[in-house]
């Protein structure tokens, strides 16, 4: 499964010039601020917008090649699209909506697969209803199911959560995670939210002012932002201390409040920069449970008095926000070995731990 995208487009003072490839399943996030050109990119991939110049190849089939005057029409592209507004057909029931793309699919999903998608998205009890009788979150799920049942070879999601309030977002997230881990269809997910991207994406393509400014694994990207580090870890089967769980990752072990998860399950943990303390020597007699040896990758000023220290902890990125005065006092500089201290209680499993049933196909 490969998708190659290269686009040049211009409109009203905005120019888009970007190229990237997606060569693995899972969720690739198109991440960037509003107006960066993300929606323009997915619209061009779907065929809803015809760029001035470009080439789009999906699984070896050329969908667009302006040089050769090839432009496959939208309805023949077999690319699913989940819009920000659900865009359900108001004159059809949920079930008719779900089957609209399925009926027109070249390789229609079997009844078993339909049942699987409907169960995965929790839509069974909604099937007879009309779209006007659904909540915002339910509409999003139906839109997701409708796109999936058209058996697309690539699924585009344009800020599918942006129109929802936080409670609805939390309601949809687990479905998106399940979908990602189901790993049947690669997804290109447009978002400007670090939270969504850190939780859902495997790979991130950062777009700013119509250009791709960075791309790589979500973990590398997060280590580059001030959002804090996102670490993927496995729940250890080791018998943990009272009320706690042990997570194993490449940089060592992380003790966190008890997770009701069996050993071997993979989770994502977010460690906020403010919650990481640094020490030059391995401290003893402190309450914090996690003392991780790490090397300083670089130091950047944050505001007037603070500094963000990027750490490599067994190859895994961590971020510590300390005062600039401390950085001077400890004579911190890139390459220096330090100990990162993380209080177990700051890793809140409700907010920052995300379950992942299957390991990712690979990490970039």
């Amino acid at each position: 499964m490969t998708v190659e995208i290269s686009l040049q487009h211009e409109f009203s003072g905005f120019s888009l010039d970007c190229a990237f490839a997606i060569d693995r399943p899972g969720i690739s996030a198109l991440f960037g601020p509003s107006g960066a050109g993300k929606t323009t990119i997915v619209n061009a991939v779907a065929g809803l917008l015809r760029p001035k110049q470009g080439r789009i190849v999906v699984d070896g089939q050329v969908l667009l090649d302006t040089g050769k005057r090839i432009c496959v029409p939208v309805f023949r592209r077999n690319i699913g699209y989940v819009f920000q507004e659900a865009r359900l057909f108001p004159h059809m029931s949920v079930d008719e909506n779900l089957r609209y793309g399925w009926r027109r699919s070249e390789h229609p999903a079997s009844e078993g697969e339909i049942a699987h998608v409907i169960a995965m998205l929790g839509l069974d009890h909604l099937r007879a209803r009309g779209p006007s009788k659904l909540s915002g979150g339910e509409k999003s799920r139906v839109a997701l199911g409708r796109a999936l049942l058209s058996s697309p070879r690539l699924l585009l999601l344009d800020e599918p959560l942006a129109a929802l309030d936080n409670a609805r977002k939390d309601e949809i997230m687990p479905y998106l995670e399940r979908l990602r881990d189901d790993a049947r269809v690669p997804m290109l997910y447009v978002s400007h939210s670090l939270e969504e991207v850190s939780r859902l994406a495997d790979r991130v393509i950062r777009v700013e002012h119509g250009r791709v400014v960075a791309q790589g694994s979500v973990f590398d990207l997060m280590a580059e932002t001030t959002f804090g580090a996102v670490i993927e870890a496995k729940v250890s089967s080791k018998r943990p201390p009272d009320g706690l769980s042990v997570l194993v990752f490449d940089g060592g072990e992380l003790i966190v409040p008890r997770l009701k998860r069996p050993g071997g399950v993979r989770v994502r943990v977010r460690i906020r920069a403010e919650d990481v303390m640094l020490a030059l020597e391995e401290p003893g007699g402190i309450s914090a449970n996690n003392v991780l040896p790490a090397a300083i990758a670089d130091i950047r000023d944050h505001g007037e008095a603070q500094a963000d220290v990027r750490l490599s902890c067994g190859g895994v990125g961590l971020l510590a926000r300390i005062t600039r005065a401390s950085a001077t006092r400890l004579q911190l500089r890139p390459g220096k070995n330090v100990y990162a201290i993380v209080k177990a209680v700051t890793v809140d499993p409700q907010v920052t731990l995300w379950e992942r049933e299957t390991p990712p196909a690979s990490k970039a």
Partner: protein, 231 residues
């Protein structure tokens, strides 16, 4: 007082209903096509076409009747050709009355359908395209079903307006009892004849009743179509 309709009155009423029904249903496909073209199409001369299609609304009906006579009269080339080769006779026949009504009331249908097409979210059609629906498929399964309220209200408004058509009909197909004498023409005739006031009043009452029923039916059917769409 006797409220039973006389044979002549019944004849005028039934003829009016026949002429108007045929007129609006024959104009509907053209109105649909024109509305789609104007609502969705982006082409040179779109505003000009829009103006031309709305001409029947502003032209005096007598002018339209006269133009029809010039083009489709039995001695006009096209009218003669149609009569000789296809056996279709517009002049002095109820078909001609229906044609005149269709042309006069066409803008009512066009306008109602166009408004409902323009009010529809083009995003729905785009969504259908990403789900594999071709242009024609989208038209049949998304665009037209969503325009049904507009189509119904256009049909009924045009029907009501058609029942009142006078000038174009009397100019084009004349006032022949049982053939082209629709309700308005019958009212006109009654007023013209001495002692016909009572008959004119009765015919007017029938017209008013039909108009009220049509307007109520339009409201009801449109509302029902809307609820059926917004499930």
């Amino acid at each position: 007082m006797n409220f039973t309709l006389t044979p002549a009155e019944t004849e005028a009423l039934l003829l009016s209903l026949k002429v108007s029904t045929v007129a609006v249903f024959c104009a509907l496909p053209f109105a649909l096509a024109a509305a789609l073209l104007l609502a969705r199409g982006r082409f040179f001369g779109r505003n000009l076409l829009n103006g031309l299609l709305h001409l029947p609304l502003v032209l005096p009906p007598v002018v339209i009747g006269y133009l029809l006579l010039v083009v489709l009269g039995t001695r006009a080339p096209l009218g003669a050709w149609l009569l000789d080769n296809l056996g279709i006779r517009f002049a002095f026949s109820w078909i001609g009355a229906a044609l005149a009504s269709a042309i006069i009331t066409f803008p009512f249908q066009l306008r109602a359908i166009r408004l409902s097409l323009e009010a529809a979210d083009p995003g729905l059609s785009a969504a259908a395209a990403t789900l594999g629906a071709s242009r024609l498929d989208r038209l049949a399964t998304i665009t037209l079903p969503l325009a049904i309220p507009g189509i119904i209200s256009g049909l009924i408004t045009a029907f009501a307006a058609s029942l009142g058509e006078f000038g174009a009909i009397i100019t084009f197909v004349s006032n022949i009892p049982g053939v082209t004498r629709t309700l308005p023409l019958a009212i006109f005739t009654a007023i013209q004849s001495p002692g016909g006031e009572w008959e004119a009043a009765r015919l007017c009452a029938i017209s008013v009743a039909i108009a009220i029923v049509a307007v109520l039916a339009a409201e009801l059917l449109t509302a029902r179509a809307r609820t059926a769409i917004a499930r």
